[in-house]
């Protein structure tokens, strides 16, 4: 028998280090799984997971127990993914004009990305909001839960999923034509 996430989170928010440790260990794998769905690449997923772990202690005081702990945690992961993308975009902008060295490096990265299977590639090609939504739903979450994480209604989740599927189908069709 284990103590509930919410109890542990509350204890951790009150300064109980052992409770915090248990909590992080318990959810580490799931955080990594979601990070992978959100980023579509192992290295990025690892970095994102590290960001989440590093920032979690400070964020935990914001956990009010109003939602399930996991819902709250997924929200933290999704937000961390957004932060990373924003930073990556900024870096990309500065990288323009760095010359051939940076261009070569990026090309090499792109090749690695190609090796990843079709789905993760396709997901990376999706618009961000659709990708996040799909990542959550593919993580065995129902529409209502995913909506709670993203702060949107279950209906919107449903709509985004069908949009995402349209995109994926279109992509597949293009590849098959090619």
């Amino acid at each position: 028998m284990t103590v509930s996430d919410e109890t542990l989170a509350q204890a951790a928010a009150d300064g109980d280090a052992a409770a915090f440790s248990t909590l992080v260990e318990r959810h580490y794998d799931a955080v990594f799984r979601l990070a992978f769905r959100l980023t579509g690449a192992r290295a990025e997923a690892e970095d994102l997971t590290q960001d989440v772990c590093a920032g979690l202690p400070a964020k935990l005081s914001g956990f009010r127990g109003a939602s399930k702990f996991t819902t709250w945690l997924w929200r933290v992961v999704v937000n961390a993914a957004h932060d990373r993308r924003r930073r990556a975009a900024t870096r990309a902008k500065y990288a323009e004009g760095w010359g051939d060295w940076e261009v070569d490096r990026r090309a090499a990265e792109a090749e690695v990305a190609e090796a990843v299977d079709w789905l993760t590639q396709a997901m990376r090609a999706l618009p961000e909001d659709l990708r996040d939504t799909l990542a959550l739903v593919l993580d065995d979450m129902n529409h209502a839960e995913a909506g709670e994480v993203l702060g949107i209604s279950g209906g919107t989740v449903g709509w985004r999923i069908s949009e995402a599927k349209k995109h994926l189908r279109a992509m597949r069709a293009r590849e098959e034509d090619a």
């Binding site: 109890t7 300064g15 109980d16 400070a58």
Partner: protein, 674 residues
């Protein structure tokens, strides 16, 4: 469409890599480190020595949240409790006990057919259960067949015994579950004789990785003994009080303390009692009285009270105190180093110009912060204290060696030297060989320098290590969480903690089988001694300081009492018993005067006495409280409400409010355990 999605899910699952183990470990360590750093920041910001100001509303909310999980726990733990009973296969070794359950008539319990209750009362059962919980060393006493300590004494029918387990289990298991979940380390039974002090899991505790962790020694509750089989009970006295501090701080923070953090003798000994003062030359006065057991009308409590003499201050030998202060980064919190400085300032006025004080600090490296200084040079000492700054990690061993060396230099003829280690228990870094450290402390004890340990703060308090160090160093381990606790430990008891009046105090009680069928020592699990060690002066035991008080309680079952748990042997006793039934037993105590090698003996018969005084009743209430917190099964229906009523009626004068505080804690525990 949903099929599509399922395909996608399956694909995604296949594509998801396993997290890299090294990365995972690194990330988890990072998270813990950030968490710890954050706690320090908050503690600094708080500027009080109290626990986080949870406030009433928050506290109650916490309680409610925690209680919601209790229903779920109840279901599973009941199953676990049953599971543990069924597991045990071997009952050959306990033929006498097969019928140990009083009346086995009801067959309506579905479990009766499974033979559950027949298998339960086997000694191995006790061990198995314990082993499940923690890597325990079997107690020396466990070699003889004993009844299993599960059913309560009043249990008349096995089925109600099981029902009782179900009731009691959730509480016991709750703390177990919590402590498992929270990853408390340590947890090695220490029923080994204190003789060559096999310390409570101190090895494990010391080898802990450097992270926020609390470790407590685990010990199996003392089992019920059958007088005819094992009439003699031997233990070393214990004047530590750290467990009560930990219990208080847990309850105030809104959760029940981990079961293994509750040491009943330390809770009982926390309180000052109004015991008879010693007369004549004896350094202390034992008083043995027999009273009714609050939780069982059919048994009696034997109350052993020892009062140490308090010599007049001018008569005591000069003290050389070396404060060994942990200034590692984790000591920065307001309830640690600053509290320690305040406590020392409180203590100084108690010392005279013949006493001297020195300060060694240790963090990344050890250093002398104050050369030996007469205790009256208050400004110099306080100035040195003010310059202490926390920083770096903990290298305890180097500090300890330096402190002992300095104490050795300071020590003159007829003077008492003591190293007082003040730490938050984070003794993990810098110890190359914990075993060598303990040996070293024991060696220094022989040379006449004692060691006391004061624990500060929660979070990485390593209770097991503190206990091990203090017991090996002949000192007292106390846990200081508030200034008033510092007042109690450092000032009220300053002479006691600092000036020993008797070394190696051992108690042996022989019960009379003609008067007592069964007995049970409450608490002192970590202090058990072998019977033969009582007369062996080379075997180390606890020490008593000036004015110290020690209380020990036995629950005994008189001959003919319905509370008897074991059946009489069919073929009678092997030997006839001598002595009349008027004496319940015989009490013996051995001690050495400080510095002497030969022990002296004090003895007296135990006879039924007058009505219990408020002191004995209060001690019983605290013993009951401790057993409730440990989830022990001897109490039957007796619960927190009864403990509160008993303690309230026995508060006595209570000039410092310690007893009133205990009643508050009982109330807290009562609501938390619902």
């Amino acid at each position: 469409m949903s099929d599509d999605l399922d395909d996608l899910k399956a694909m995604m699952r296949a594509a998801t890599p396993k997290p890299d183990a090294d990365r995972k470990a690194a990330d988890l360590a990072l998270a813990r480190k950030n968490f710890a750093d954050l706690q320090e920041v908050w503690d600094d910001a708080r500027q009080t020595s109290d626990r986080p100001k949870a406030g009433l509303v928050r506290g109650v909310t916490d309680m409610l949240t925690r209680m919601n999980t209790r229903g779920a726990l109840t279901a599973t733990t009941a199953l676990v409790a049953l599971g543990m009973v069924v597991v045990v296969p071997d009952w050959r070794n306990a033929p006498a006990l097969r019928g140990a359950q009083p009346v086995v008539t009801e067959a309506d319990d579905s479990l009766a057919d499974a033979g559950v209750r027949r298998e339960a009362p086997v000694p191995e059962a006790a061990e198995e259960m314990v082993l499940d919980v923690a890597p325990a060393e079997p107690a020396p006493e466990a070699e003889a067949p004993q009844p299993v300590p599960m059913p309560s004494p009043q249990v008349a029918r096995p089925e109600s015994g099981l029902a009782k387990q179900r009731q009691i289990a959730p509480q016991a298991m709750q703390s177990q579950a919590l402590s498992d979940a929270e990853g408390y380390a340590g947890g090695v039974a220490n029923t080994a004789p204190v003789g060559r002090i096999e310390q409570p899991g101190s090895d494990d505790a010391m080898a802990l990785p450097e992270m926020e962790s609390e470790a407590f020694p685990d010990a199996v509750p003392n089992a019920l003994k059958i007088t005819s089989e094992e009439p003699v009970s031997t233990f070393s006295i214990d004047v530590d009080t750290a467990s009560y501090g930990v219990v208080r701080s847990s309850l105030r923070a809104g959760y029940l303390p981990p079961r293994e953090a509750v040491r009943i003798e330390e809770m009982v000994n926390y309180f000052p009692y109004d015991y008879a003062a010693p007369e004549g030359n004896a350094p202390f006065q034992p008083t043995v009285s027999v009273t009714d057991t609050p939780w069982n009308p059919d048994t009696k409590l034997v109350h052993v009270a020892i009062q140490g003499e308090t010599p007049p201050v001018e008569d005591r030998p000069p003290l050389n105190l070396v404060f060994l202060i942990d200034t590692s980064g984790s000591m920065q919190a307001a309830n640690k180093l600053p509290l320690l400085k305040q406590s020392l300032a409180l203590m100084l006025p108690q010392l005279t110009e013949r006493d001297s004080v020195a300060i060694i600090t240790y963090a990344g490296s050890a250093g002398q912060a104050l050369a030996p200084t007469p205790a009256t040079e208050r400004e110099t000492i306080l100035g040195a204290l003010d310059r202490l700054e926390a920083g770096g990690s903990t290298a305890g061993q180097a500090g300890l060696q330096q402190a002992y060396a300095l104490a050795g230099e300071m020590s003159g003829d007829g003077e008492v030297s003591r190293v007082i280690l003040a730490t938050d228990g984070d003794f993990n870094v810098g110890i190359s060989d914990p075993e060598a450290l303990k040996d070293y402390i024991a060696e220094q004890r022989e040379s006449g320098t004692y060691l006391s340990v004061m624990g500060f703060g929660r979070g990485n308090l390593d209770d097991a290590t503190m206990q091990a160090l203090a017991q090996n160093g002949n000192g007292q381990a106390a846990y200081i969480d508030t200034l008033s606790e510092a007042q109690k430990v450092m000032v009220d008891q300053v002479t006691g903690a600092l000036y020993p009046i008797a070394d190696d105090v051992k108690i042996q009680v022989e019960f009379n089988p003609a008067a007592v069928v069964e007995y049970r020592l409450i608490g002192y699990e970590t202090r058990a001694l072998r019977r033969e060690d009582f007369n062996n002066d080379r075997v180390d035991a606890g020490d008593i300081g000036a004015g110290h008080q020690v209380t020990a309680l036995y629950e005994i079952t008189p001959v003919g009492s319905p509370a008897q748990m074991s059946d009489p042997l069919r073929y009678g006793e092997a030997e006839a018993v001598r002595g009349d039934a008027g004496e319940l037993g015989y009490f013996k105590l051995r001690y050495k005067a400080p510095g002497e090698d030969e022990s002296r003996l004090i003895e007296q018969a135990i006879v039924e006495g007058a009505e219990a005084g408020s002191e004995a009743r209060f001690a019983a209430a605290i013993a009951g409280f401790g057993q409730l917190l440990r989830g022990e099964t001897y109490l039957g229906d007796w619960g927190y409400a009864e403990a509160i009523a008993l303690a309230n009626g026995a508060k006595g004068e209570d000039p410092f409010g310690y007893r009133a505080e205990a009643v508050q804690l009982m109330r807290l525990a009562e609501s938390l355990s619902r």
